[in-house]
């Protein structure tokens, strides 16, 4: 009896289940059951999941069976489908749920996804590349359709994501400026899968339209510099610059027109770790900072990290500007030529072996010297003088890379650049009584960087990635001044005197480093690494020479002859750094990065040790809203001694010593990001920073660090702080892209020896900064770019009065300074605009730009100069870049 009853119960239960299933399946019959063969067109707005399914069934005519109990009750679905495959429509309905569809017999059945235990996860790994050029894509996104598994590619385009074995996932690969790729995969074992993404910058439509903006998945508080907008926005003389673009982001500023370098969140120009393909660069400016050393055509990615700085970075206090150059097109030869009123540039790239190796070479040089020399010569002749002025800069980037098998990659990257300023003036004066005086003055300044690095990356299986680096970097500044005075040069009693002055500053690093990335699984990612740097520097060697004996028949004293007779004073020092970074994902909303950076710095028989904790976290608060917080401690072995705080190339890098310890900082930071609709992101950020052992300025004579000179005693050491709020509204993914940013910030310093020990505004203190950058696509072949900046005045130290000083019974006037940064320059504001016209041809494409820099001719001051007038001392404001129109042309093939 019992057995029959049980059997009947089971049978009845089964029948009821089937009945229930059948009850909720629409009894439409259709010979075609497979989802991708059915197309649906419908609009759903906030409907419950079960209603959505019913409507899909009706629209497609396909039997879809499901148990209503497994459907999420509180979920609403919105879907706008226009001839969409049924399968994709179902994916959209079930996104972020545990449901998938399966084909069982001739039925489409909705079931819950089986999640195996972690031991049953497999790893998908590989590289994400540009389909046309083979360029590796940094921070490309890989995510499963249920958003449970996600990863970003690292700086070498490598990704690794763990997913359940034997479970079908739709993986989505995406990157800004590229079409998304979706792959359906049911992995049985670890899979190596390289992905090639197509750029959505179609040749038929040259105009770059940026993709829908994304809130970063990382806990780092960084700004990805929008390189897709870079070429469209206006630049000085048509030259766009990635560093100048970074200076338009919230929390970042510079001196007028980019002079002097970048200041981030109230920090000084030396506190930014500028990485060029992973190698630190000491001076990033051409033409005093008007342009950076980064040729925008060579840049693949650029990020500015201002807060929550991860443990892998160290050595500077305020920020990390991480720039990577392109590897070169490994599919076919390509190139670009461009010319503007200021510069000529050339790019050539291509494969050594298609798909396996490539090269990338860019070069640029200013072209104004043919005009500068004759114009200056003419100007001098009008003043009865002879001579000329010459000014130019150039740089060359080279990169080659080789794919050595499936798991190894070798990169070689090199950079060389130089700025040159030459000024020769000859004058003749009648002294009276038949005496003649001839003066010859030569000034020869040059400065520049050189960098080379070799990097080998290796994939140890599917979860472990490592790379080794060997690098060299060098910055050198030379200033040579030679004067010759002849009295009665054609007479027997002629006399000649000479004086010369050579000032040198040089810094070189040799670096070796290794890093490992372990993509452990869904919840954990580990980075660890070590580096060793050998520093050699000759800071501030000043050699003056007055010669009264006759020189050789050339009547000229070269700097080589002075150098040959002089002993350099060189400092050495070495740094060892170790770091560990743990990125932990807790649930879907929380990512935490906890790490530490440990440094050992040895200099002049002294060792400095510093353990710097780093913490950052990203919390998903609500749909489209993310909170990030961070705490960072940093140290800095090098100090930059700045002339007047103007960030000039003759600023001197000094090592830490027993009397001059490394500088330190602590930063608390946070940000709130909110997506507004499809195209907007609103970001609010705040920070508070504290500085210790920062150096102040040395007043007076050029800094001389020769043997026997007590240079350390001249440098004040003090403290500082900075705080601020940043607001940024960003739009992309449409015909108008760009951003508006506002920063409120303050920064101060305190030194016992300066300003009577009272705190004063730091040079980087800018209370309010407003930036607007827009790129608008007018039509298929034309866009319009606009940039406007407003910044409240820069602090400046002004004399309160002038005082008469009697020297040898003659009165001279000297300025009296009572307080540091007691005055302000006028506010800085400037408008730039341009129009770009694009055309394509069989052989390639062309971009013609018409623009204007400083459209309303604002005289933005660079500094205040103290001048000697007939009536004592006066103040004059120096502004440099006036209203400046330009035309530029770029041709790609």
């Amino acid at each position: 009896m019992r057995g029959l009853k049980e059997s009947l119960t089971i049978h009845l239960t089964s029948c009821v289940s089937i009945a229930l299933i059948l009850l909720f399946s629409v009894p439409y019959s259709n010979a075609q059951q497979f989802p991708d063969e059915h197309i649906v067109t419908l609009d759903l707005v906030n409907v419950p999941v079960d209603s959505a399914l019913l409507l899909l069934i009706k629209a497609s005519g396909v039997n879809i069976s499901y148990d209503p109990a497994i459907l999420p009750q509180d979920r609403k679905v919105s879907l706008s489908a226009n001839y969409l495959k049924l399968g994709l429509a179902l994916d959209n309905v079930f996104v972020r749920t545990n449901l998938i569809y399966k084909i069982i017999g001739d039925q489409l059945v909705i079931v819950e996804r089986y999640i195996p235990p972690p031991s049953e996860l497999v790893t998908l790994s590989g590289r994400i590349m540009d389909a046309k050029t083979g360029e590796l894509l940094v921070n490309a996104s890989v995510v499963t359709d249920d958003y449970k598994y996600a990863e970003l590619s690292n700086e070498y385009g490598y990704y690794s994501v763990s997913v359940p074995r034997n479970v079908t996932y739709h993986l989505s690969y995406s990157y800004l400026g590229y079409n998304k790729i979706e792959k359906s995969i049911t992995p049985v074992d670890d899979v190596h899968l390289d992905i090639h993404l197509e750029s959505n910058n179609l040749l038929n439509e040259i105009v770059i339209v940026s993709s829908t903006p994304k809130i970063s998945k990382s806990s780092e508080q960084f700004d990805a510099i929008p390189l897709d907008l870079l070429s469209g926005l206006p630049g000085l003389a048509g030259e766009t610059d990635v560093l100048r673009l970074a200076q338009m982001k919230a929390g970042v500023t510079s001196q007028a027109d980019g002079f002097g370098g970048m200041m981030v969140r109230g920090g000084s120009v030396d506190q930014n770790l500028i990485l060029f393909d992973g190698v630190p660069i000491y001076n990033t400016g051409h033409a005093l900072g008007l342009f950076s050393i980064f040729n925008s055509s060579a840049i693949k990615s650029a990020r500015l990290i201002k807060g929550g700085i991860p443990a892998r970075f160290g050595g500077r206090l305020s920020s990390v500007f991480d720039v990577h150059t392109k590897e070169g097109n490994n599919q076919k030869m390509a190139g670009e030529l461009s010319v503007s009123p200021l510069m000529a540039k050339a790019i050539i790239e291509g494969p050594f072996q298609k798909g396996k190796s490539s090269f990338f070479l860019t070069a640029r040089r200013t072209i104004i010297d043919p005009w500068l020399k004759p114009l200056s010569k003419y100007q001098l002749e009008r003043n009865n003088e002879k001579g000329s002025i010459n000014l130019y800069f150039y740089d060359i980037n080279v990169k080659v890379n080789f794919k050595l098998g499936n798991r190894d990659h070798l990169f070689l990257s090199a950079y060389m650049g130089k700025d040159v300023y030459e000024n020769e003036v000859e004058s003749r004066t009648e002294l009276g009584l038949g005496r003649i005086r001839e003066d010859f003055d030569l000034i020869d300044l040059n400065w520049g960087n050189q960098m080379a690095t070799i990097r080998w990356t290796h994939e140890f299986g599917s979860k472990l990635f490592g790379f080794a680096n060997l690098s060299l970097t060098n910055y050198r500044y030379e200033s040579y001044d030679f004067d010759r005075t002849r009295i009665n040069p054609e007479e027997a009693d002629k006399s000649v005197s000479y004086s010369s002055r050579l000032y040198l500053s040089d810094i070189s690093d040799r670096i070796g480093s290794y890093q490992l990335h372990w993509f452990q699984g869904k919840h954990y990612f580990l980075r660890l690494g070590a580096s060793y740097t050998d520093h050699q520097l000759s800071p501030g060697l000043d050699i003056s020479n007055n010669v009264e004996r006759q020189l050789d028949e050339n009547d000229f004293l070269s700097k080589q002859s002075i150098l040959g007779n002089t002993q350099y004073r060189r400092f050495g020092g070495s740094e060892m750094r170790f770091f560990v970074e743990n990125e932990i994902r807790i649930g879907r909303r929380l990512v935490v990065n906890i790490g530490a950076h440990l440094s050992f710095i040895e200099a002049q028989d002294t060792t400095f040790t510093s353990l710097q904790p780093r913490f950052s976290a990203k919390i998903g608060i609500a749909k489209g809203m993310t909170l990030k917080i961070g705490y960072t401690e940093m140290d800095q072995f090098f100090h930059l001694l700045s002339s007047g705080g103007l960030g000039l190339p003759n600023d001197v890098w000094l090592p830490s010593t027993k009397s001059l310890p490394p500088e330190r900082s602590r930063q608390f930071s946070g940000s709130l990001e909110q997506r507004l609709g499809q195209n907007w992101i609103l970001t609010l950020r705040g920070y508070k920073k504290y500085y210790d052992s920062v150096i102040g300025f040395v007043s007076g004579s050029p800094f001389d660090i020769r043997e026997g000179v007590d240079w350390e005693g001249q440098i004040p050491i003090g403290t500082g702080s900075a705080s601020g709020l940043e607001f940024e509204l960003q739009r992309s993914g449409g015909p108008i892209s760009g951003w508006l940013s506002y920063t409120y910030g303050n920064s101060n310093r305190t030194f016992k020896e300066i300003n009577n020990g009272l705190p004063f505004r730091a040079g980087a203190d800018r209370r309010h900064i407003l930036n607007i950058n827009l790129l608008s696509q007018l039509n298929k072949n034309m866009d319009f770019g606009l940039s406007w900046t407003y910044a409240t005045p820069t602090p400046v130290t002004l004399p309160s009065s002038q005082r008469p000083v009697v020297i040898d019974d003659e009165i001279f006037f000297f300025p009296v300074y009572d307080e540091v940064h007691n005055g302000e320059l006028p506010a800085y504001h400037k408008l730039d605009a341009n129009i770009n016209i694009y055309n394509t041809y069989d052989w390639g494409s062309q971009k013609l730009s018409f623009g204007v820099y400083n459209a309303y001719g604002r005289r933005n001051p660079y500094y205040i100069d103290l001048v000697r007038e007939d009536v004592g001392l006066g103040l004059e404001q120096i502004s440099l870049i006036p209203f400046l129109p330009y035309v530029s042309l770029a041709i790609s093939f």
Binding site: V339, P341, L342, I367, I368, W371, K494, S497, E548, R549, Q550, S643, G644, L648, F697, S699, G700, S701, P702, G708, V709, D710, L798, P799, S800, S801, Q802, R803, P804, V805, I811, P815, V816, Y817, D818, V820, N822, G823, E824, L825, P826, R859, Y863, I864, L866, V871, G872, L873, L875, E876, Q877, I878, S879, L880, I881, P882, F883, P885, Y886, L889
Partner: protein
């Protein structure tokens, strides 16, 4: 043809660009909160035991204002010595010298004594405060010995024969600490007069020529050359064994009569405030020619005013190069 046109177009635009760029602006700075200041009295008095007592009295003024009216000629100036009974003398304005001087031009300050100054002017300047300053005249430090070495000479077309030598001067221990010196080397003009009997007579004259200091040897930063003062300035605490080593250079004039026989060295023992004042002033002088240097803090020991009231005691020391 198109390429040529393009190149010409580019060159033309480069030219236009350079012309625009060359119009960089230099204009008067319009104050954006330039600090307000009150005019103050500026005193310069460098007393010496071998010179008359005199001082300049000027005033600090605003940047850009008229400098023709900076002299103060109607101040009440009282010069005070520290001897007992109190030595108090009025100083009067000498319009020809444009300085304040003592009635008795033979009055000399004495080493080892302190002196003060008291000044009152219009109430606008001194704001009803008395302007005062004090200095101590250190006791002169003497030369205990010297050595001459590394004598060389070379001929030049334009300057004739140039002589170089290394002079090491040893000084006695200072009687007052801290001690600061100014040492100025001169070539004493000496002529060799040939007599009828074939002998020669050396004639020394009071005239002397400043010698050039080519190099300071082993100084530890204790010995420096200032841009606005002759000789070297020395901080006694930072030199070795009270010795100063200098490489000097001089040229002989074109007449054949003159010989290089004697060097005369003026050794000034400076008051501390006078030393600090000139070191600070040297920094200012050097930085004034560089547009980009940071402002310098000046030195002043004048209460309720500005400037310097300092002194020195001096000795002359004759060095015979043939001994």
């Amino acid at each position: 043809m198109v390429q040529l046109l393009l190149m010409s177009f580019t060159q033309l635009f480069s030219l236009v660009f350079v012309l625009f760029l060359s119009v960089s602006c230099r204009e008067d700075y319009v104050s954006n909160g330039t600090p307000v200041f009150d005019e103050v009295v500026n005193l310069t008095a460098e007393l010496s035991n071998d010179d008359v007592v005199e001082l300049s009295l000027l005033k600090n003024i605003a940047i850009g204002s008229d400098v023709s009216d900076i002299e103060l000629s109607n101040a009440e100036v009282t010069f005070l010595g520290s001897q007992v009974p109190l030595d108090s003398r009025k100083m009067l304005y000498d319009a020809e010298k444009r300085k304040y001087v003592l009635e008795n031009p033979d009055y000399r300050i004495v080493e080892g004594q302190s002196y003060s100054i008291e000044i009152t002017t219009d109430s606008d300047l001194s704001q009803d405060h008395l302007i005062t300053a004090t200095t101590y005249i250190p006791r002169a430090v003497h030369v205990s010995g010297y050595t001459i070495s590394n004598r060389t000479s070379y001929k030049t077309e334009q300057s004739g024969t140039m002589y170089q030598l290394e002079l090491t001067i040893s000084l006695n221990e200072p009687k007052d600490l801290p001690a600061y010196y100014q040492i100025i080397p001169y070539r004493k003009v000496t002529e060799l007069r040939r007599n009828n009997d074939g002998t020669a007579t050396e004639l020394n004259f009071s005239k002397r020529h400043l010698m050039k200091i080519v190099e300071i040897v082993e100084s530890r930063n204790g010995v420096v050359i200032l841009a606005h003062k002759d000789g070297v300035y020395i901080d006694q605490s930072r030199i070795n064994r009270n010795e100063v080593k200098l490489v000097l250079e001089t040229s002989l004039p074109l007449t054949e009569k003159e010989i290089l026989r004697y060097i005369e060295v003026d050794v000034h023992t400076l008051s501390e405030e006078l030393y600090q004042y000139h070191i600070a002033l040297d920094n200012e002088v050097r930085s004034l020619n560089r547009s980009y240097s940071y402002p310098i803090e000046r030195f002043s020991n004048v209460q309720n005013g500005d400037g310097i009231f300092g002194g020195s005691s001096m000795i002359k020391y004759l060095i015979d190069l043939d001994q």
